[in-house]
């Protein structure tokens, strides 16, 4: 089993979707239980990664490779490093929670919904395992299909606009990546990422490729100014779709930078690091202000995601300045670790925030902030979780939201105090939009009779929110195990930053 652990992780949920589909619309409970079983099974299998992956050694491990398309020298090759392991664990964990979260919320064809979720989970794990660029691309694109279906079928009233926008945006982005990959294939004769990393490229070639990758991954992250699909997609997506989108799919953008931009085009990445850093800071400040004035809770949290993902791109690209200008590899590692922790942590917090909004939406069928007020009076336990996640979203120490931002801000200061200055602005603006939301939704007297009738969270919802809360606190109080898991991989990535191809 351990020889094919990664394949098992990818295909188990995808294969598991078949019996769930077969359960049909007539037996919704069977479909629910089957999909829950599959999700738990996948999570259980993913737990084997922890003992199987040797974090002290680092590097790519648990490799599998088979010829896939021999004419093009494409391989079905998989392997993971510490960062992938962390992201896979995040995926399988969130996979369970979205199924529980959707339990009796999804009433139309739950078997199809659950099956789409399982397929999506498998494909996302595939993205994190693929070490062949074309295989990565296939998973990367295939992921869009179940998400397209999830939003398009179970979404809100403007779901058609949102799905089209989502699809065209991301598809357009990845087309550029495909062109870049074809160019690399023609030069190297392979899609193997490890070989491509050692392929000599001139600065001009690197620059073209850098922008091809940048567009693809910037859309996914999303970075300003290609972020506008995200609020629309979130608003229209069902709760589970939003949770997966925010918790896992956005991370694929950040992950792509690590696997493509850094190793394959290091010089161009270094040359244009300022651009990515600038866009990241714009994400923190500009998007922070945009989030402040949102009237729709989901949009607010979606914009907040964009701002928080700014720390991921900032943490990755600040490393180039630190290593190449100052020779400070330790600070570069700190920033990179911060970016990685931020990816995982944002998975928990955004997943939790969207789950909270789902809880409210299921009771009131509105996402407008003005329709709420004084919810704490009728839902005290919900209020506890909501405040906890809001504080995590503000980056309060002791929650996971603090760890990554803290590391990235510390590292940025070593590169340039002004970068740290603008990044640290999140302390103020992040607290402003999050706590103003809390004030309007949670605090105050009960504003209307609909709020008065709301019931506190049930056992199923408590389970989902409690699981998120536990992780937010564990990572916040003791991040060392997580950073240790990724430490060797981060160190190797930082070494790549110094590599000159020209």
């Amino acid at each position: 089993m351990f020889n094919h652990l990664l394949s098992l992780l990818i295909w188990l949920p995808i294969a598991g979707a078949v019996p769930v589909l077969l359960a049909g619309s007539g037996r919704p409970n069977l479909a629910r239980w089957l999909s829950l079983l599959m999700a738990i099974l996948t999570f259980a299998v993913s737990l084997f990664l922890i003992p199987q992956y040797n974090a002290d050694v680092g590097g790519m491990q648990l490799a599998e490779s088979h010829v896939w398309i021999s004419a093009l020298n494409v391989h079905y090759s998989l392997a993971v490093d510490g960062i992938s392991v962390a992201l896979i664990l995040l995926t399988t964990f969130v996979g369970i929670l979205v199924i529980i979260g959707a339990w009796d919320v999804i009433q139309d064809n739950p078997h199809q919904y659950m099956a789409a979720m399982l397929v999506l989970e498998g494909l996302m794990i595939g993205v994190f395992c693929a070490t062949d660029a074309l295989l990565f691309y296939v998973f990367f694109e295939a992921m869009l299909i179940p998400m397209f279906i999830l939003i398009g079928i179970w979404g809100g009233p403007r779901r058609v606009y949102a799905t089209l926008k989502f699809f065209i945006y991301t598809f357009l982005g990845s087309i550029f990546m495909l062109i870049g990959l074809i160019y690399l294939y023609l030069k190297a004769g392979t899609f193997d990422l490890h070989t491509l990393a050692t392929l000599p490229l001139t600065l001009t070639e690197q620059s073209w490729l850098f922008f091809a990758f940048l567009i693809a991954f910037a859309v996914k992250v999303p970075m300003v100014p290609v972020h506008t699909w995200l609020p629309d997609a979130h608003v229209e997506a069902p709760t589970g779709g939003s949770v997966v989108l925010a918790a896992v799919m956005l991370k694929i953008g950040g992950y792509g930078f690590l696997r493509f931009s850094l190793p394959i085009v290091p010089d161009a990445s270094a040359q244009f690091a300022w651009l990515v850093i600038l866009l990241s800071l714009i994400a923190v400040v500009y998007i922070g202000y945009v989030a402040l004035v949102q009237e729709d809770m989901k949009k607010l949290v979606a914009y907040s995601s964009v701002a928080h993902m700014g720390f991921v791109t900032l943490g990755i690209f600040i490393g180039f300045m630190l290593v190449r200008q100052f020779g400070n590899t330790d600070a570069a590692r700190l920033g990179m670790q911060g970016a990685m922790v931020q990816m995982i942590s944002h998975g928990f917090i955004s997943g939790a925030m969207f789950s909270c909004i789902g809880v409210l939406y299921d009771r009131m069928h509105t996402r407008m902030i003005k329709d709420y007020g004084g919810v704490i009076n009728v839902m005290p336990w919900f209020g506890f979780f909501y405040v906890l996640f809001a504080m995590a979203n503000c980056g309060l120490p002791g929650t996971s939201g603090f760890v990554g931002e803290f590391m990235v801000i510390l590292a940025s200061f070593s590169a340039n105090p002004w970068i740290a200055f603008f990044a640290a602005f999140t302390l103020i603006i992040g607290a402003a939009y999050t706590l103003w939301l809390v004030k309007r939704v949670l605090w105050g007297d009960v504003t209307n009779s609909h709020v008065a009738e709301m019931k506190d969270i049930n056992g199923r919802e408590t389970l989902v929110l409690g699981a998120f809360a536990a992780l937010v606190l564990i990572v916040g109080i003791w991040p060392e195990p997580l950073t240790h898991l990724m430490n060797s991989s981060v160190t190797q990535l930082v070494q790549l930053l110094a590599v000159h191809k020209v």
């Binding site: 100014p225 600070a331 309060l396």
Partner: protein, 677 residues
């Protein structure tokens, strides 16, 4: 005997356990269970803190500095959770746990009728845990954790009565203003990591001298001194937490929280965290005269100008709140003249007498059925003698009457400022002297309005429906109408008052010698010899009694206190109409003070409204109009336009196509012919 880490962990975690039990099992264990379990936690914590203080001062225990666990370890950077216990920490632990314990007991009486009883106990225990983590930390990471955690609890407690619009406005405001401070604080920590490569106090202080001569490039041509940048950034954090001008605006509004909180968090402990922090960082601050002058001027401004606002307040709690702002200014001034021991000494005495004044005010508020307006009080001394006497004790300490604790700490600060030659010390000396007069003005006014003079309330007995002690029942009455005559509060309320009155009166007398002039703090506080104003003063120190007798001099601050006493006694006991005459004669000044120099209004207009306007502009202008409107939907509609244009070419008529073919053929052949030529 060496301190054991299990004792220290118990001190920190006992309140946390109490918090979790009272918070999560509040329904199961009930009200009595909630207060028992949290008070037990505090008793353990407080008892062990006294033990630690004893071991550190008399038991010969060496300074404890060990990590508990590693938070992260990345390359050469490590962050840990750990404890540093020296005399400064041990003193803070005692102050925090002692005041917190008394506040816990007091709460039993004050919150007796509140629905959120268990929640309240859970919060104040959580606060104690956070504050202990802050003061016991041996590194900047944990300091920041404690720093923000106390901010969180403050947020929760200011908004404790979450149905009140004013409370939930105040808690948001408090959190955000504090975040502005934390923004600077975090950058300061980042600067320390950049220059000194560590987050650990001991290592950072040991290598602090290497900062001399280092600079930080602000622009290509502007270089700032490293130590100055670090110290000012850290102090911005202190300005938020310790409510220094111009980040002071949150503290008066924080009075929306229940009174025990005002005593514990917004007077005795949390707001002094900034003072503690600067004292702790004294090895860094001593490297920058510029930063210390900055600290000095900020503190002096607050000491005088926030005190002035206190004179025009009518809410009994707000008077004490502005008094706190002013006293925090005094502590900051002491820091600014390198009299760190003086600042911490005033922090300690202030913790006792200010907690006493707040709890006393709370006792009055209970008696008045949650009426806080002093215009409807008066003559309360005969109804509540214990509260009356203990509040006088606190007031005398606050105005620094010789022999009280407040005298020793405040007089030392004023004298230290007089001795100092640091830039800004002249201005500061004026502010603290004038501040002493102002303090006496608002304090005596408050005491007279509350306890003396004519009763300005009436007892209306006929409302007999039984729940007048509810917090929101004052809506049923006209102001100044009470359902029952005021009466002295129960023992759980008065006992803490008495227990706080004792140190307010005596602790200064017994500790001034060692703490200020005896080098009691040892290595915990570092002062360069040239800056050592306390050392100079110590040369003339002839014991606590001598200092107090000397303090009766009419040409010093005591003369100003007497003058204020005479003025207020005349106005409020003999001729109350004078107050209104002064008010109308000095109308513009009164308005300026009543509106708090318009600072709140300006902030609200610029930052709150301005921020929302900017956000709306970015959203509607940037995201919606430019990106979505022009780029996304614009390109979509452009494609549509092109497509619908191009579609006309495909008319489906054969002769159109035939015509196009012929045209193409002609162009093609013509082209060849042209090239051939």
């Amino acid at each position: 005997m060496e301190l054991s880490s299990s004792i220290l962990l118990t001190i920190a975690l006992a309140p946390l356990v109490g918090c979790l039990l009272a918070g999560f099992l509040g329904k199961q264990i009930g009200r009595a269970g909630a207060h028992s379990v949290t008070i037990l936690g505090l008793l353990i914590s407080c008892g062990l803190s006294f033990y630690v203080l004893y071991q550190i001062t008399a038991g010969g225990a060496p300074v404890y500095n060990h990590n508990v666990y590693t938070w992260f370890e990345i390359g050469k950077y490590t962050a840990s959770v750990g404890f540093l216990i020296d005399r400064l920490t041990a003193m803070m632990m005692v102050v925090v746990t002692f005041v917190s314990l008394l506040v816990h007991v007091y709460t039993i009486g004050y919150m007796a009728d509140d629905d959120g009883y268990q929640r309240f106990f859970s919060y104040i225990s959580l606060f104690t845990f956070s504050m202990l983590m802050l003061v016991m930390s041996n590194n900047f990471l944990q300091l920041f954790f404690g720093w923000e955690a106390v901010g969180l609890v403050s947020y929760l407690l200011i908004g404790f009565w979450y149905k009140r619009p004013t409370a939930i406005f105040a808690n948001l405001k408090a959190f955000l203003v504090n975040r502005v401070g934390d923004f600077g604080f975090l950058l300061g920590i980042a600067a320390i990591l950049y220059f000194l490569g560590t987050l650990d106090y001991a290592t950072a202080f040991a290598s602090a001298p290497t900062l001399v001569g280092k600079t930080l490039a602000i622009t290509q041509h502007v270089q700032w001194d490293a130590a100055t940048v670090i110290c000012i950034l850290l102090f911005i954090g202190a300005m938020g937490k310790s409510a220094q001008v111009p980040l002071h605006v949150w503290l008066p509004d924080s009075m929306e929280g229940p009174t025990p909180i005002s005593a514990l968090i917004h007077a005795a402990t949390m707001v002094t965290a900034g003072i503690f922090m600067v004292a702790r960082m004294s090895p860094l601050y001593e490297l920058s005269d510029t930063a210390l002058s900055f600290v000095l001027v900020i503190g002096a401004t607050g000491a005088l100008f926030t005190g002035l606002i206190g004179i025009v307040q009518n809410d009994i709690k707000r008077v004490v709140a502005y008094s706190t702002l002013s006293q925090l200014g005094y502590m900051t001034v002491a820091l600014g003249v390198s009299a760190y021991a003086g600042a911490v000494f005033h922090l300690m005495t202030h913790a006792f007498f200010k907690a006493l004044l707040f709890l006393g005010a709370g006792s009055v508020i209970i008696a008045m059925h949650h009426e806080q307006d002093m215009r409807y009080m008066g003559g309360l001394r005969k109804y509540m003698p214990i509260t009356w006497i203990t509040m006088w004790v606190g007031s005398l300490a606050l105005v620094a009457v010789p022999f009280t604790s407040g005298f020793y700490s405040k007089d030392a600060i004023i004298e230290a400022v007089g001795e100092s030659h640091r830039w800004g010390s002249g201005y500061a000396y004026f502010c603290v002297m004038a501040g002493a007069f102002v303090t006496a003005l608002y304090t005596f006014r408050q005491m007279y309005l509350t306890f003396h003079g004519k009763e300005r309330f009436t007892v209306v007995e006929h409302h007999g429906h039984g729940h007048h002690d509810d917090h929101d029942d004052h809506g049923h009455h006209k102001p100044g109408e009470l359902a029952h005559a005021p009466h002295e509060s129960p023992w759980v309320v008065t006992l803490p008052l008495v227990l706080l009155a004792i140190p307010s009166l005596l602790v200064g007398f017994f500790t001034v010698g060692p703490m200020l002039f005896g080098g009691w703090f040892g290595g915990a506080v570092h002062v360069n010899e040239v800056n050592n104003v306390l050392g100079e003063m110590g040369a003339h120190f002839e014991g606590a009694a001598g200092m107090a007798l000397h303090g009766f001099s009419l040409f010093g601050p005591f003369g100003l206190v007497l003058l204020a006493f005479a003025i207020q006694t005349y106005i409020y006991l003999f001729n109350p109409s004078v107050a209104d005459k002064i008010k109308s004669a000095l109308k513009p000044i009164w308005v300026l003070l009543d509106r708090k120099y318009f600072v709140d209004d300006i902030y609200f207009a610029i930052f709150a409204r301005g921020g929302v306007a900017l956000g709306r502009m970015f959203w509607k202008g940037g995201d919606a109009a430019v990106i979505d409107g022009v780029l996304i939907d614009g390109s979509a509609s452009m494609i549509q336009r092109i497509a619908s244009g191009v579609r006309r070419l495909q008319s489906g008529y054969l002769y159109h196509y035939a015509f196009a073919m012929i045209l193409g053929l002609i162009l093609l052949l013509g082209g060849y012919w042209l090239i051939g030529q």
